[in-house]
Symmetry: C2
Subunit: 154 residues, 2 copies
DNA sequence: GAGAATAGCTCACTGAGTGAGGTAAGTTGT
DNA sequence: ACAACTTACCTCACTCAGTGAGCTATTCTC
């Protein structure tokens, strides 16, 4: 985005620069997802779906097709297709939801977890390594900042 | 990703949590792009292309179709199609590259900048506001962290 | 229990992205 | 200075991911 006509303000300029840097990181993460997709023969959407399902599992949230559709910002039909593809590839299992007979419970298979770990493991380790370099205070600063940003993005 | 079998390590756990938070931010930024795309009748890829072109302009880099393809992680053919769509919508102009007769120079139109600003402006302002809350030292901590992460992602 | 709402699905279709292959401009070797 | 190679981008034909319309089954509301 062009900087507009605002008068020079070093505080603002520094903040803008930081936001751009954050976007840059987001972009590269997305590119890494695309690379993983190409490497495994999956589609970018499928990989995004898998990571969201794993996130749900980690957070203890029950992942349903509807929930997944919302997470991906896609229609329910497209999400149905994604689930079918992942199911056919053996990456996801559809279990019956015990709370709602209309809905399904999605569970990621061990093979998918292993696959993801093999590819993203090294990357993740590198990122963890970088993050561990921060002392506790700085880590808290970054963490709080990211949390606030995530909230601001709804 | 599941946490694996490593023994409990609070440092590592905190770092991992932070990395997940970073992914969360990246995801939501991507969703915002999708929302913008739907609102404007563009496609997510087209929006991503526009932002990259604006980034190039900001950085003073000459944006060519080939460069854009690389930035989007797509084939040159798909990028040709993106450029055609953006050109037809009046968002991008193809100018002749003066250094290389085979290549083209892509320039984003004022209307596209205005369009992006109208949608992303409020969001960007909110993020800048959040970032300005940090004092200079903390901003530097976050900025350095993000730079290191971006580099680690190639 | 009837009517409304919700979760997810199938079907038919559109069009974004790919692979194969072409053209034109630039680069290199002799 | 010309042929051979490389690079940058394009067109064409095709595939299949994602959408809109509309269906069924289950749950909620009164």
């Amino acid at each position: 985005m062009r900087e507009g006509v605002k008068p020079a303000d070093p505080e603002r300029a520094a903040a803008l620069e930081l936001v751009h840097r954050l976007r840059e990181v987001a972009l590269r993460l997305e590119l890494a997802v695309g690379e993983f997709a190409r490497a495994t023969g999956l589609h970018a959407t499928d990989v995004r779906a898998l990571t969201r399902l794993l996130d749900a599992e980690r957070a203890g949230v029950e992942a349903t097709p509807g929930w997944l559709a919302q997470q991906l910002g896609m229609t329910s039909q497209a999400t149905t297709a994604v689930i079918h593809r992942l199911e056919a590839a053996g990456h996801v299992e559809r279990l019956r939801s015990r709370s709602d007979g209309r809905s399904a419970r999605l569970q990621v298979s061990e093979t998918a977890v292993d696959l993801g770990w093999r590819f993203f493991g090294p990357l993740l380790e590198r990122l963890i390594g970088i993050t561990e370099q921060l002392d506790q205070r700085d880590r808290s600063v970054v963490s709080d900042y990211l949390t606030t940003v995530a909230d601001a993005l709804e």
